[in-house]
């Protein structure tokens, strides 16, 4: 067993715990509790010995320092696919590879691991890796810096016992609570009765431990490489008008739509790069309100977007690049349009797209009612209309609220009355006291009134409880 030899050779981290491996680690026998809170693992979920998966986890500490590690991780995942078709992302900085099936091709597990590690090293990337029968165990071992290969699931518990709990990547509150009961290493956790663990920390924790010990299967989502459409077209004569450009781009849009149709996919974004003879490249992005692959919709939005564009110089060539492909069946088309079946109901997202393409992304928005006491915080602009709208506003109970809110309260000239009440306004209703926000330093303490001014406009005005000044805050339009 070369793997075992390798275990004892390289995993000095575990030297002390090899003894612990012989200590009977509590197996999943829920000792005395008649109705076990965690369902026992059905034997069928245990993979057959010869088909047992072997997971290789690799962690790239350097990625953590990058501002956007996602893209780099995707590239690495793409490369890892030369070893196995089953690569899974573990953001922000780790990958999981199922390598059992690759052993026939690449040799024994430790040889394959060494080979993959050498590959990262050639790239100047420091990587920490480990292989184990479960993805979680492999990941935890890799995080601990243990470069080992464990093939036997029975050996897992002993190997994991020495790992500090931080290797699990659990959130701070959970780690803190575990530390409070004196648990700092996985071994100590594994020794606790399952039933008590499930009661105190929830069944998810026990399920995770089972998955780590390969007693329960934990399916991983396979990484699917990002695919994009990209095509370029050169123009013999430079195109000077944006309108003609839209026509000249139609074949590219048509090709893009065919490409998307073949993959049953759509995009939410198209990018256009325009090359000029002497000017820098012009970049144009067109966004869609939903995922789409409809050539007419692609073309129309692109045309609207181009109509806003002032061309710096004649265009010699253009490239159309799609955003990441998204599945059309996912229903994201409906996230916006709703499930309303009638054709006219589905017409809004194209309308929103057209408005955004011409007026700009931020010129078209919805509003959401937010459960917040401070009036200025109770309404928020949202990109997608209706987001967070399901949440009922705090004051839905008939207290009048103005249809229009001023961007910031407008100071009213003080009158001659004792409380400096503005002479232009006659109070009709109130006061409604609103006090809140002390926790973030932007606290308000105001008495709100519905009032009418000389010309008959009805406003929502308030008096500062501290400064005694009066302000206009909204209009009952």
């Amino acid at each position: 067993m070369s793997a075992r030899a390798r275990d004892s050779r390289t995993a000095d981290l575990f030297a002390a715990e090899l003894a612990a491996a012989s200590v009977p680690v509590p197996a999943p026998k829920p000792v005395a509790v008649p109705p076990p809170p965690v369902p026992p693992v059905p034997p069928a979920a245990r993979p057959a010995p010869q088909r047992r998966p072997l997971w290789y986890a690799v962690l790239f500490p350097a990625l953590l320092a990058l501002p956007a590690p996602q893209e780099r991780l995707h590239r690495l995942a793409h490369r890892a696919q030369r070893y196995t078709p089953l690569v899974s992302l573990e953001p922000p900085a780790a990958l999981l590879l199922e390598i059992r099936g690759s052993l026939r091709l690449f040799g024994p597990p430790d040889a394959l691991q060494a080979r993959i590690d050498a590959d990262w090293a050639r790239d100047g990337l420091r990587a920490r890796s480990a292989a184990a029968p479960s993805p979680l165990a492999a990941l935890w071992l890799a995080r601990a810096g243990a470069s080992i290969v464990i093939e036997d699931p029975a050996a897992l518990a002993g190997r994991l016992a020495a790992l500090p709990l931080a290797c699990t990547g659990w959130d701070a509150p959970r780690l803190e609570r575990l530390r409070a009961i004196g648990v700092t290493r996985l071994g100590e956790l594994l020794r606790l009765p399952r039933a008590g663990l499930a009661r105190r920390f929830g069944p998810a924790l026990v399920a995770e431990l089972d998955a780590a010990l390969a007693r329960a299967s934990a399916p991983r989502r396979a990484f699917v490489p990002l695919e994009r459409f990209a095509a370029r077209r050169d123009f013999e004569v430079g195109i000077e008008e944006a309108a003609r450009l839209a026509v000249a781009l139609a074949p590219l849009v048509e090709r893009c739509a065919r490409f998307l149709r073949a993959r049953r996919a759509g995009v939410q974004r198209l990018q256009l790069r325009l090359w000029h003879r002497a000017a820098p490249v012009t970049r144009v992005t067109a966004g869609f309100a939903g995922v789409t692959g409809d050539p007419r919709r692609l073309q129309r939005v692109l045309e609207e977007r181009l109509s806003r564009l002032a061309l710096a110089a004649p265009v010699r060539a253009a490239a159309l690049v799609s955003g990441p492909l998204e599945s059309l069946s996912g229903g994201s088309d409906d996230a916006f349009g709703g499930a309303g079946g009638a054709a006219e109901h589905a017409a809004a997202p194209p309308l929103i797209e057209r408005l955004r393409a011409r007026l700009g992304e931020h010129a078209v928005y919805g509003v959401a009612a937010i459960a917040e006491h401070r009036p200025e915080g109770a309404s928020r602009r949202v990109r997608e209309p209706g987001v967070a709208a399901a949440r009922p506003p705090i004051d839905a109970a008939g207290v009048p609220r103005p249809m229009l809110l001023l961007p910031s309260p407008q100071r009213l000239a003080a009158g001659s009355a004792a409380d400096a009440r503005p002479s232009d306004w006659r109070l009709e209703r109130g006061p409604e006291r609103i006090e809140s926000g002390w926790w973030d330093g932007a606290d308000v303490a105001r008495d709100y009134y519905v009032a009418r001014d000389r010309r008959g406009a009805r406003g929502w005005i308030f008096q500062e409880r501290r400064g005694r000044d009066w302000y206009l805050h909204g209009l009952f339009a």
């Binding site: 709703g338 499930a339 309303g340 079946g341 009638a342 054709a343 006219e344 109901h345 017409a347 809004a348 194209p350 309308l351 929103i352 057209r354 408005l355 011409r358 007026l359 931020h362 010129a363 078209v364 928005y365 919805g366 509003v367 959401a368 009612a369 937010i370 109770a378 309404s379 928020r380 602009r381 209309p385 209706g386 709208a389 009922p392 506003p393 004051d395 839905a396 008939g398 609220r401 103005p402 249809m403 229009l404 809110l405 001023l406 961007p407 001014d453 010309r455 008959g456 406009a457 009805r458 406003g459 909204g474 209009l475 009952f476 339009a477």
Partner: protein
């Protein structure tokens, strides 16, 4: 000749010219009862037209001008229909639409959109797009300037898309001609809200006092 053609268009757009075509077209359209009997009695077919351009001239914001239309629109359920209703779009409102008030009225915020164009032309273009899309129950547009050709286009777009277009403009445009199907001036006096129906296709100009 072109000069004559233009004057004909101007003539037709004049508020004092009443065209038979419009009157018959309006008669076949459904309406939204305003919820105020005194007002319904004065409006053709007893309510706000559902596919037309209505122009509202205002002395000031905050007179209850939106309230004239919103409850009627909502009572009909045209905008809120279990998420599948048609849209209400506000273009260039003078201040920020306040979500708690809108939700209080029963408006479905999933079908509510605000558009903030940078110029009057963009606002008019957006209104035309929204009105003719068929996706909107109503489009409210706040506008300061005046452009006859554009207003005429809005009217056609509203009829084509089956949407109610409400155009809020300052009162100073009162004496200009307008292609709107219905024109009213809103003011408030000691007695309460006063509506002057300046132009009513298929009806008579009138002045109506409403409860506050």
């Amino acid at each position: 000749m072109p000069r004559d053609a233009r004057s004909l268009a101007e003539l037709l757009a004049d508020a004092r010219v009443w065209r038979l075509k419009d009157a018959t077209a309006a008669a076949s359209r459904p309406v939204w009862p305003t919820g105020r009997a005194a007002l319904d009695a004065r409006l053709p077919d007893g309510g706000w037209p559902t596919a037309a351009l209505v122009e509202v001239l205002l002395a000031d914001y905050g007179l209850g001008e939106v309230q004239l239309f919103l409850p009627a629109l909502l009572a009909d359920g045209a905008q809120r229909d279990a998420g599948g209703g048609r849209w209400l779009i506000w273009i260039a409102p003078p201040y920020e639409p306040y979500a708690p008030a809108l939700a209080q009225q029963g408006l479905d915020l999933r079908r509510f959109l605000v558009v903030r164009p940078e110029s009057a032309t963009e606002a008019l273009w957006a209104a035309e797009q929204a009105l003719q899309s068929g996706a909107c129950a109503a489009v409210f547009l706040w506008l300061k300037g005046s452009d006859m050709r554009w207003l005429r286009r809005l009217k056609l777009a509203a009829e084509e898309g089956g949407a109610l277009g409400v155009l809020f403009r300052p009162e100073r445009h009162r004496f200009e001609s307008s292609p709107a199907t219905l024109r009213l001036a809103v003011s408030r006096d000691a007695a309460g809200l006063r509506l002057e129906l300046l132009k009513v296709r298929g009806g008579q100009p009138a002045s109506i006092a409403l409860e506050p």
